[in-house]
Symmetry: D2
């Protein structure tokens, strides 16, 4: 049994992590911290957990966390970096679901997140937790930077094209649509039911924090710095990301074969039959990324459709997948959920 602690369990990433870990057969949930909710029952805040999670929230307390094998940070950006060093020194492994350890370059972090980095010396060690890119490095990782939701959907969609060098990597376009839970459980006007409901809009056009993260991934895949226009959109649904990716083909290739072959051994990437149109609800509540690849009118533009549940493969599910890899468990254990449809 892996003894697990969660720091910051009051957001959507936290409750989703609890949903998955509560029934994970090889996890023992030790402690869930929340400064604001300390002392309250987790199930009072999240009534879906009644009968599954009996723990109360406790104050962030390094002693109890140091007794865990693994600590997940489901905190806002900038928290994990202040506590990770101490936990690693105590032999605890860490998976951060925020952005603190996603960049290799501390200056890039500071530019996009506006906070000096508390432990830049750990950035080199941290493994970016996209198993489809970094599975081997993850096996021995002490510190995992769990990817962002958009970066997961977009990277998995572009990866085969860039690795095979069949498209113009300098003019990629990612038009992404996210459900509102991607914004987190924050009391902001813009995410009210009456503001985000029955409405569609783009945001972050001038520069979204996930842009440099995606670029870092794509550069690794392509072997050189790519060019990407990334336009995220707020969509009136609760969960789900639908990324529609556009690239210009530079050589003839069997696209369907390329994608199948790249992901044939991946338990959580599902390449759909040619002509398919993935729906976000087809992955609601599950850790799978479903991808279809198209070439409209047999022209030179390839269109990749990539869907994930932003809270699962885009956050908590991927974190559990990373945990399974870190601790040598079967990679799919605890993640064998049938998506909820309708």
């Amino acid at each position: 049994m892996v003894k697990v602690g969660i720091v910051g369990g009051t957001g959507y990433t936290g409750v989703e992590l609890l949903r998955l870990l509560a029934v994970h057969p090889q996890v023992e949930l030790q402690v869930i911290t929340s400064r604001s909710e300390a002392g309250g029952a987790v199930s009072a805040l999240f009534p879906n957990l009644r009968g599954f999670v009996d723990l109360p929230f406790s104050s962030p307390d390094s002693a109890s966390l140091r007794q865990c094998d693994l600590v997940f940070f489901a905190t806002p950006n900038g928290i994990a970096m202040s506590m990770t060093r101490e936990l690693l020194d105590a032999g605890v492994r860490v998976i951060d679901l925020a952005a603190d350890f996603r960049f290799k370059n501390a200056a890039l972090w500071e530019q996009w997140y506006g906070i000096p980095h508390a432990c830049p010396e750990l950035l080199a060690e941290a493994v970016y937790g996209l198993p489809e890119m970094n599975r081997e490095q993850l096996r021995d990782a002490r510190l995992v930077a769990n990817p962002g939701c958009y970066p997961t959907a977009v990277t998995l969609g572009f990866l085969p094209l860039l690795e095979a060098v069949v498209v113009d990597g300098m003019h990629l376009i990612a038009d992404a649509k996210s459900g509102v839970s991607g914004a987190g459980r924050k009391a902001e006007i813009g995410y009210l039911f009456c503001e985000a409901g029955d409405n569609m809009k783009a945001y972050g056009v001038a520069g979204h924090r996930h842009l440099p993260e995606i670029l870092q991934n794509l550069a690794l895949a392509a072997g050189s710095a790519p060019g990407l226009t990334f336009i995220p959109h707020l969509t009136p649904m609760i969960r789900g990301i639908h990324a529609t990716l556009y690239a210009r083909l530079q050589k003839e290739v069997d696209l369907q074969g390329l994608f199948h072959s790249r992901y044939k051994d991946e338990p959580f990437v599902d390449i759909l039959p040619a002509g398919s149109l993935p729906e976000t609800r087809s992955v609601r509540g599950c850790n799978t990324c479903r991808i279809a690849v198209h070439r409209p009118g047999q022209g030179d533009t390839v269109v990749v459709l990539s869907v994930i549940d932003n809270l699962v493969k885009g956050a908590a599910g991927q974190a559990v997948q990373n945990m399974n890899i870190l601790f040598g468990l079967e990679e799919t254990v605890g993640l064998y959920n049938v998506p909820l449809l309708p």
Copy 2:
């Protein structure tokens, strides 16, 4: 392993049954029939089942069904009654998720469903599959009439009050709100996104088929024929029933204690702490009915709030619960799902 067949797997009840049975550790799915989809892959119709259900739909075929231990009917009303006799004679047990066997009185069936009953002689034998009322009879049942969604939510809410004879049973009111999936997966204008979305309305005010079903249940609980005004409402959500029940108290009673005591051994009825306000999403995807009981202003009107997922405790989940009871399995096996929130 229970060898299971499903007749009519193309509706929401069918796909939900498949979601639950696909990962049930003691079930072997043998056959899924659909006249309209025969030959097609189940996962082509329901993309959430990709990787979980490999069976194709087959034509309704008594030979393959006769080799099952249990056949679920997830068909429109009036189908099960034409095939049940033959299956029972072949030693197959039957759980009907439609209404064919819910009434003890064939005339009542004919009045409300407008079709002569094909096997009225089986009505006496059929056990109404609400385990909280009929668990003992279910253990040996050959034929189970799985309850309707509204009847489940309303009956469980009124049951303690009527059994304890503490309210005026002649003037009960059930104001129920259902998600749109309760109408099934039918191509009808009224259930389009643009008709049912961002809208609320009552329906069936002049008489809904679930009214006599509820009355039959309440009469058994009360020991005499009750009076009920039942007003269902179509609510712009996908899953969930919220039943708000009103009754006039006729004697002093510890309401909270009464409900706790009635359901203390029930694995799928959760009595919430005093003052609670259950939400439908707190049971999304799970088999639990959550109930809160209130007495506003300490007056003589008791208000019971009862929520279920209409497709789980109101249909497929309850059917699996009944299957578990019929075959002597642990009652909760395969139903230990954490509700999806948000």
Copy 3:
């Protein structure tokens, strides 16, 4: 032309008032105040008003307000009462869309709103702005207390029954369902898209502020204090209230005729044909209350279904209707909007 000022134009009531007044042919919009948004363009906050409202928000400033013929308060509870005396003294008429002047009894105000009343001496003069009850008094009113949304829908539904003394007034039940805009444009977790979406729940069961307001209305109609159980529900739609009202008949009566006759001269109450089921979307964006009256199974329980747009007849539209009455305009001017469907 009526010179109009609005205090507090940043909530949903404010923007709705602006939507209606911007195209009202006999209104000249003079000033819109907002402490938090002062200096900003109204249309920057509410992009639907681009091209219709060119005014900026200004600081609350009694000088500019004193030059108006009429000031609307679209503020939180407790603001209007601190500014009304000065405006009335300057000859400005006031319509308060909040609750400050709804109760005749200052103690009742303090009990439910938890703030001492700043000008209890004005409560007797204030006219409760439900034209269907108080049209004559409104003609000469200086100060109008615009009704709450639930009180409007519920009062209009019960009024004919209580005035005609045909039901048991001591055991009335109002089961009301409101869209989320009823909660206002407030940054609170509970009204986020991911909290209120795809979900239904009751709230305020222990006592909602609209309960004493409804009781005050019903007492006037009935001639004596009634008894009411009022259970509001949060419904995943943006606009709309659906009130389902239950009462016990005490004498035979032609219900359809009673309702028709009570409201035959009312421009904004529409009694539907017998057997109708009103939908909230049938009044989306308009000032009409649509009502259907039923007697299920010809029993002794009468069921009234009453729908309004909570932001129009339940707030801003009714305020404009009151303005029209106060200033001797045609009552329907500026309110002749066709509801938006779908």
Copy 4:
């Protein structure tokens, strides 16, 4: 007064046309036909029209239509072309909201719509009713082909760029998101609340009927045949199209100035301030197209965001705008609606 007839008033385009025409001060509604609903009250089908439209549906009847000044066809594709010749000969002008007269090339029609064209000789005369392109020709038109919803949003967004020849016209990308009402009021499984709700998916990737229509427009604007990848997406909202357009810049240009200057005299195109992010709800119920133009990271990709209400500027509103032009009325009369927000 323009005497108006509507053929086929039972879809969303029809009810929206009725919403606008019912309060248009210079229109006299003479006849509304529907084969399926003949004899029924329009307001029984569309309860929002109660009190505004008293006409019943009548059978399609050329005599009554021939007495109109103008007939709108709000019918499925292929109906208008069978009746238009007769009406034109009788001196009646025609605006077809379907696709029958949108293509100049009958072969193209037959390829995409799969029906032989009934009157190809009228295609040359028909004026494509996008006033921003064809206002002068519309003034004297007898026959107007009202544009499709996607073509309106996409064409208006690309127009300034192509006319000024500042982008690579051979590699345009239009990623468009539509509300479900774009699919019409049709009883099809895919548009049910429980299928289209809480879900996002692309469709028509292999070829959507609006692609050749957009290409025809863009070719006129560019002076040569362009290349376009067009990916429409079904979005869980009722109304609205959000088109996100991508093009590669080929010369330096003041984008904001270019768009302002192109549309400065257009009453229904609103160029937003630099940096703006238009929302579909900002045009809900109104005839305006709002456009913002961006150049992310000052790279060579221009991103245009264009929003319309698909039922208004994308259908019925644009048809009314065309009617106003045809009959020499003020172009905005009857279209001065403030969008409904929230």
